[in-house]
């Protein structure tokens, strides 16, 4: 799957949970994004998994630090 398509779909999922659009930059961390706290994080990850039909490993989740790394991880799983 193309990276741009993954970003567009992930953006929709995140906006659906946070109820606002995120101005996308790969370098953004959760702390930079309004409303992305521990609870919304759990829902975002679950919704991303559903959207792409994938399941993250715990170790993978514990390495995610930026939006860019989330996209790279999704891409590695959907091929």
């Amino acid at each position: 799957m193309e990276k741009n398509e993954i970003i567009e779909r992930a953006k929709k999922v995140i906006a659906g949970v946070l109820k606002h659009e995120v101005k996308w930059e790969d370098s953004l961390t959760a702390a930079d994004i309004d409303g992305w706290d521990s609870l919304s994080h759990m829902i975002i990850i679950s919704e991303v998994e559903e959207e792409f039909g994938i399941k993250f490993k715990l170790k993978e989740l514990n390495k995610l630090d930026r939006l860019g790394s989330l996209i790279d991880l999704i891409q590695s799983k959907v091929l």
Partner: protein, 228 residues
């Protein structure tokens, strides 16, 4: 602490005991386990999920096996405490590791129910980077008043001072209604740093008390006349 007790690192066989300890510590001086109430789980359900979550591979935080010290009596665990240095060397914040664990192990409907409760963040106190975090102190009822809790925390502080000379402060969070625990922490040198109060009428449906305290203790302070 009496000689019949020893303190050691937690091992995988302690996981069921740690599940019991975590739920009891969550409840503190009340019947309310916030993790159960927020995520709409029974204590039995949480007790089944926790041993899977407590793992040495979680590098940090209150669900890492390596964070726990155990007090042992006649070969059995009777007390526990978790302690870790928050976000040491830019490690992931423990709150995010905890969120990932809960996302991974809890049923999705539990996550949705918790997310719908905006009350969940009412009593949240951020953990300061590079401080010793003390959590989930527990001693089995028949072994209380033997100095075990004090020994567990003192050992945690001693190890942290030895292994992390750059860490200058320990922090712990406690609900204000838990006066026994607060007295113990004060006797160990902890003092009040911050108080958070929720005025939401529903708060005590989800938490043991509407007021939470952040206590702190300075570490690695120079000895004065040979005494700390």
């Amino acid at each position: 602490m009496r000689n019949a007790y020893t303190i050691r690192n937690a091992i995988p066989a302690d996981k069921p005991f740690l599940a019991t300890a975590i739920i009891a510590a969550e409840k503190g001086n009340s019947d309310i386990c916030a993790l159960c109430r927020l995520f709409d789980l029974t204590e039995a359900e949480l007790e089944t999920l926790l041993p899977g979550m407590i793992d040495a591979e979680n590098e940090t935080g209150e669900f890492s096996l390596t964070s726990f010290l155990i007090a042992e009596h006649e070969g059995r665990p009777v007390g526990a405490v978790a302690g870790w240095v928050e976000a040491v060397e830019n490690a992931m914040p423990s709150g995010r590791v905890k969120a990932n664990l809960i996302q991974f192990f809890f049923p999705k409907e539990s996550l949705i129910k918790a997310y719908a409760k905006s009350i969940a963040n009412d009593l949240k106190i951020d953990r300061s980077k590079n401080t010793l975090q003390v959590e989930y102190l527990y001693v089995a009822e028949q072994h209380r008043s033997m100095g075990i809790a004090a020994s567990l925390i003192s050992e945690l502080v001693r190890r942290t001072e030895k292994n992390y000379p750059g860490v200058k402060r320990a922090e712990l969070q406690v609900f204000k209604n838990n006066s026994t625990a607060i007295r113990l922490y004060e006797n160990l040198g902890f003092t009040l740093r911050e108080t958070v109060i929720s005025f939401n009428d529903e708060i005590t449906r989800y938490f043991p008390c509407n007021e939470k305290l952040l206590l702190e203790k300075m570490l690695n302070t120079p000895a004065i006349n040979g005494k700390k």
